[in-house]
């Protein structure tokens, strides 16, 4: 068995090593890293890895942590079935919100 991996995102199996490699390849924004590596795109939608990835990116860039904005955190906060979504009766969201 190979050396145990350090997982950054457990849902999509993104390791710290892969994240660093992606940064080295030129993906230096949290949004492009998310799209390229898949970090934060899994079942939990970043609950387990958003702040960890952002912290790691700040470290790689050598910038203050507050410079790393979060990726968009869309509702719902937990997975729902299409049947539940279809039954939803909620007011339309206003347009100026992220």
């Amino acid at each position: 068995m190979s050396k145990p991996k350090v997982y950054l995102c457990r849902c999509e199996d993104v390791t710290v090593h892969e994240f660093r490699e992606a940064y080295r390849e030129g993906f230096t924004e949290i949004e492009s890293l998310k799209r390229y590596t898949g970090v934060g795109t899994g079942f939990c939608q970043g609950k387990g890895c958003l702040s960890e990835s952002a912290g790691l990116l700040a470290e790689l860039r050598g910038c203050p942590p507050q410079d790393i904005r979060p990726t968009t955190i869309r509702p719902p906060a937990e997975p729902m079935t299409f049947a539940q979504l279809a039954a939803l009766d909620v007011p339309a969201a206003e347009e100026d919100h992220p």
Partner: protein, 470 residues
Amino acid sequence: MDKDLVQIRFEGKTLDCRPDTTVAVALWENGVRVLSHSPKYGSPRGVTCARGQCTACLMRVDGVPNVRVCELPVRGGMEVARQDTGAFYGPAMQKSLSLGSALFPVGFYYKWFTKPAWVSRYFLKTIRPLTGVGRLPAARALPSAPATEAATRDLGSVETVVIGGGPSGLEAAARAGGRVLVLDENTLPGGQRAAALQAVAQETRGGLGRFPVLAAAHERLDRALADFAAGGAEFRPGSRVIAGYHPDGLLLREGGDLLTLRFGSVVWAAGALDVLGLFPGNDAPGMIGPRALYRMVLRDGLDLGGRRVIVIGGGLDFWLSATLLACRGAHLSLVVTETGWQTEVSAAVDHKWPLHTGLVLAGMSAVGGTSIQATLAPRRSSPGPKLSELRMEGDLAVICNPGKPAYDVLYQLGSELVLQPERGGYLPAGADGSDLGGILPGGRPFRVVGEAAGIRPGSPDSSLPEVRHP
């Protein structure tokens, strides 16, 4: 007792389970610790968050894939299976898969083999089990369209909604005026630690005095519960806020029901999530955080009597987990990774609990199908004689790191988030470790309190023993 057991089917075997628990805990007690394999590396995973929020416990139940079994109550006769092919993933197969992976670019699974339709059908049938996503549900298992009868129910509006019923939320609710509603996913007010604190206080018969951090937390909980009961606020149990709609709407889930609610102002007291940390093997099955431990032991009745449990970390959760496990007859191995806590350490030593200090967690690995091994390295700054690396084996490891403040619904309501790693992650703008608040873009006032504001319970903020994070 035995006559009350129910049987479930797991991959061809019949397992005896208590009827009042979850499928994940029933499997754990029956020695099934690996619930899934991860999608890319096929790494084994066990129950982790015990709250339906992570990928680790997705299983196929009665023909339906991707069911979160950590929150699914046991029902006699249910059919549970892992979604991947299990034995398919051996080291050799994993190695040959990674050799071939260069031929398959990321995203090939939704670009290739999609046309014609029969190719797509065959491809999906083959690829889904291999990736651990599960087979497509059997047609008979699909629920009939519930859209018309399961329409959303509207709860109207309240002057103040408090999201989270822990001590901080209850204190805020007791202070607020007008119609106040407290929403919490637990069945009773008091938050994620309440049941554990109360159990430990009762089972040690007042022995909490030896652990000042626990005594203070229990006293605060009692006071918050009494003030809340004396005030006029309403508590909604089993209610989980799953979306915020700008500017003042919330979507709640209570069991299978969806409800909407509007508010005049909001108090965000949603607490924090378990953080396991970044170290080699940080996905090994058998490793959980303290909040998951409280849920599994007190909500689901997990019996850890006679089991070997390693508790690593610091803070209120470390001492609460250790005492709870000691009360329930687990064989403890404690590793305090923080300095300080002299009073609690001496109390643990008096109780003859095996305890190590001056070490930090360096790695975890699964041993066989049911055990977990922690590798502990000496802390660099540790004074005294140089310690060597230490390995410990257990049935379960509880990692007590500072929690990560919850932020999702408050963000959806329009609050800005700022990354503050020293306080656990993303926090609402302006968070400086004190209770904070402001005005949401839609004009509604908000406040953030407690762990959601990055305040660690049992930290120097609440005048408890001094703790420094390494």
